[in-house]
Amino acid sequence: MRAAVVRNEAVMNEPAADAIVEVRGISKTYGGVEALRDVDLDFPRGKLTSLLGPSGCGKTTLLKIIAGLIDADRGTVAVNGKKVSAPGPERAFVFQDFALLPWATVLRNVAFGLELRGTAKEEREAIARRYVADVGLAGFEDKYPHELSGGMRQRVGLARALCVDADVLLLDEPFSAVDEQNRRKFQEDLIRLRTNQNKTFIFVTHSIEEAVYISDRIVLLSPRPGRVSRIIEPDIDRSGDPDRIHRDKHYLDTVEEIWQGLKQYVE
């Protein structure tokens, strides 16, 4: 049995071999509450990294700062070696509340990122059709969001983010508004989708099981102020039957280990 690679504070800050997103000294205070303090993090290219922690640990804030949707008080974010402070074409966001246009069809919603960039209608719809099929929504192109279930709506949100061909996908608790059964199916699909897409995922979640199930790397944040407390790399083989992962001893051990570490922050 292989052991999880757990890094402690001392070795945490060593630069990763190929970091696509580099976060340096990020601090953010909201109306007197210190959401993040001096966060240094590297996100390796092509990996799925989860930001995990109890509510109030600033994980969504950190994700939105990386996305350029919130300005940090101090510190820098670099993507592909270039400093960023606003949204850019190399990053795409998947929203917790889906943020779909209720008046637009699935196809137009998926193509909306390209529509904003001025891609011609035919071209963007052809691209969008491909991603609609990739996320398992073929046949639903002409439906409106209110005709879809929560899980299907988030698939639209994911397809929209994939459609703009960004290097980094930022997912803000994408499954928190999706029911349990759909969430598990979606998680399985995400693992499958990752093997076809050569993309870096940064994934915010408060579910330990979810983080261990899908992540190459888990960043544990401690709350008030949000700081990196540990980085865990669960060494789980995700090829083959996805259901097997849930019974994997190593998966269960890692979940337990993270829970023991987070327990102290839960009141």
Binding site: G68, L69, G88, W103, L116
Partner: protein, 274 residues
């Protein structure tokens, strides 16, 4: 036994679907609307036959007067003269109202400068300004168009402003994350998202525009529909008077229905048939 329950269940389903079908006939909007119009006409007819007042004609004599006035050309001629300031005023109020409302919703100084004015205008009995309008602009087309605009504009501006202010913030963040420009934000997110409330304001505004034009024709200058109402009353031709009034109400209703159709067709296709 198992088969028996099966049959019972099937029978239950069949009878259920039959009653559902009968129910559906009543749920059809067209059937219900025609029924409601029929009931209204019948009540009118009975009230006219009692009669509730010597100045209250029956439904049938009103309809007869309507046909007569259409045939002799007096009603069409009146509408030609009334529709000019009405259409002009409503179109101007629509564009100006949605424009000003959007500006005030997006731009703080605009909100502080203009919104109080429109709140006062909406609260004021604006019809009282109509003689003032006559005083300044005379009795022509300008005065009548202006009467339509002062009645229609405040509600359109205020509804648009409120709708734009309450736009779904997460859609704006989404647009920003995909690098949408400010203009794209306004035209692809804000206006479509606000359109149901904007259209509610437009419906109220158009109805107010009808009030404005009839008031102007009754108060300012005896032309068009207002003149026809006054003229019929002065001759004690109550059927003619009611036919004219009823035709204005019908036209106003048809306009509002058309507006709703445009809204669903063009701006909010997801509400079609839903």
């Amino acid at each position: 036994m198992a088969a028996g329950t099966e049959v019972d269940r099937a029978a239950g389903v069949a009878s259920l679907s039959r009653s559902a079908q009968a129910g559906r006939l009543f749920e059809k909007p067209v059937v219900l609307r025609l029924l409601s119009i029929g009931l209204f006409a019948a009540a009118w007819q009975i009230a006219g036959l009692i009669p509730v007042s010597f100045a209250f004609p029956t439904f049938s004599s009103t309809m007869a007067a309507f046909v007569r006035m259409m045939a002799d050309g007096s009603l069409p001629a009146a509408y030609v003269s009334t529709l000019q300031p009405l259409v002009l005023g409503v179109v101007l109020a629509t564009f100006a109202g949605v424009g000003i409302g959007t500006l005030c919703g997006l731009w703080r100084p605009g909100e502080w400068l203009l919104i109080p004015v429109f709140i006062v205008l909406q609260a004021a009995p604006v019809a009282a300004f109509i003689p003032l309008v006559t005083f300044i602009y005379g009795i022509g087309m300008t005065a009548k168009t202006l009467a339509v605009i002062i009645l229609a504009l405040p509600v359109i501006v205020l509804n648009t402003y409120k709708a734009v202010r309450n736009v779904n913030g997460s859609l704006l963040v989404m647009s920003r994350s995909f690098m949408g420009t400010r203009w794209q934000e306004v035209f692809k997110i804000v206006l479509p998202d606000a359109s149901p409330v904007i259209f509610a304001g437009l419906r109220l505004g158009v109805a107010a525009g009808f009030v404005g034009v009839v008031l102007a024709e009754l108060l300012i200058t005896p032309t068009g529909i207002g003149d026809l109402i006054t003229f019929a009353r002065s001759r004690a031709d109550y059927a003619g008077m009611y036919a004219t009034i009823a035709s204005v109400i019908a036209l106003s209703t048809v306009t509002l229905v058309a507006l709703q159709w445009i809204e669903v067709r063009v701006f909010r296709p997801e509400k079609r048939g839903g």
